[in-house]
Symmetry: C2
Subunit: 272 residues, 2 copies
């Protein structure tokens, strides 16, 4: 099911700025038992990213109703929401009166192997580096060629994810996930002020740490430092938490801090 | 008129990777007297950019026929060609058997004031910096949010274009044009190995200089150096050549080297 500005159809205008320039933002979330998981946080992040791109955010009630419609027809699925700056006269200039395009689509939840969650994943260290662009950093915008090129570096199922650094060799994130390290009982996660996407699950992990009195530092994390950490895990809205089992010649067993964080996240799920 | 994979229609699949990730490339060219200007160079650049993105290039005869069809119905227009990696299963991984989407659309030639060409243009110095990304540099890909944000910095018609620097303060290009400087009778143009789009008109200017024995150096050009140059001009396939009349508090009169380069370009037009 695909809703384009509320109408069920499978196409979007060929002259849309989302296609022409990647001029828009998106979100991906899981639907289980007919419920869009952490919908309020997802909408808040969507609205936040719209502000960053000077894009009018779609009305909360409208998108919420469209998400609910998809949940009714597909009670177990993933939902992707795209908001673009819509069609416009040619050229990069912002339209005087933008008419954003809103696309809400449901698709099957990816069928990741259970062992990714239980035993952890092997991670490819990507050659591609994220370029520093503070004006876009943090937002989940539609300019994702860096992620596409990083993901294209491997095509063996041995690797479930790739880890990407910035130009200076600091770890930023996976190609499709945020990353956390555990160092002597403290959580670390890369500062995303210059590149990377600040996802909803990343926020939830930080909130869970705070709730339970676990220190979480957001800072510059060089690769060398990452490799010395006691545990590493990857997060996003569809995978939840995957422990990292191997990266760049080092290996880890799923750690207790990672397991505890998963419990803490499930706990908030029960609450919400 | 819009042709999507050869079929006249105004829409593209909502699940296209061009929309989802900006995963594709494009070209813009002028059609005058029913003739697509410098079509061979445009096709060559399109194919080159496809290789850079590991995207199968559309067959030359097919696109050429589609461009010709638009020229017949709109003998004076601009043509935009978009090639994306097509629809695919969700996720960044390249599809095993990509089925690219090809969009060819005609639209009215922008109606730029005649004085831009004759007297030159006022240029805004953009705050936004292009981020260095060697893997994408040079290609005219669909990830153009940097251009959108740079262009959004002004909305007075006083400025016809904005000049964008890289993170280190070197001049890269306009938001929609390439830039050349004239320094003591020699041409200079920024090195685009780390960011920027290497356009067809930039190639044509360099070729014209070579043909006429004028030195043209491709190098790192700091803003300070740019402001000390004798002439500056902007180029693209739709504007041709615009002299820069003012930038960052300095001003210039249209120079003789700029005028001569325009004659040289017209000359090759007559030849081709």
């Amino acid at each position: 099911v695909i809703l384009v500005n509320g109408v069920e159809q499978s196409v979007a205008p060929a002259a849309d700025r989302g296609l022409a320039y990647g001029d828009g933002i998106f979100r991906t979330l899981a639907v289980r038992d007919g419920c869009p998981e952490h919908w309020r946080q997802h909408y808040a992040k969507l609205a936040h990213d719209c502000v960053q791109l000077r894009l009018p955010a779609p009305d909360e009630a409208t998108v919420t109703a469209e998400v609910a419609a998809i949940c009714r027809s597909q009670p177990r699925c993933a939902i992707k929401i795209i908001v673009t700056r819509g069609c416009a006269t040619r050229g990069y200039a912002l339209p005087d009166t933008p008419e954003p395009t809103r696309i809400v689509l449901g698709f099957p939840l990816p069928d990741y192997p259970r062992k990714h969650r239980e035993r952890g994943v092997h991670v490819h260290l990507c050659d591609l580096r994220f370029a520093p662009q503070p004006a876009l950093a943090g937002a989940k915008h539609l300019n994702r060629l860096e992620n596409v090129l990083a993901r294209a570096e491997w095509n063996t199922p041995h690797y479930a994810e790739g880890l990407v650094r910035d130009t200076e060799g600091n770890v930023i994130s996976g190609t499709m996930s945020n990353v956390f390290m555990v160092d002597q009982g403290c959580l670390l996660t890369p500062d995303l002020a210059r590149c990377g996407v600040a996802g909803v699950t990343r926020d939830r992990v930080m909130a869970a740490a705070q709730r339970h009195g676990m220190t979480c530092r957001v800072e510059t994390v060089p690769l060398e430092r990452t490799l010395e950490c006691d545990e590493i895990f990857l997060v996003n809205s569809l995978i939840g938490i995957w422990p990292v089992q191997s990266l760049a010649g080092r290996s880890w067993r799923p750690g207790e801090n990672t397991a505890r964080m998963r419990e803490w996240l499930d706990e908030t799920e029960a609450l919400s």
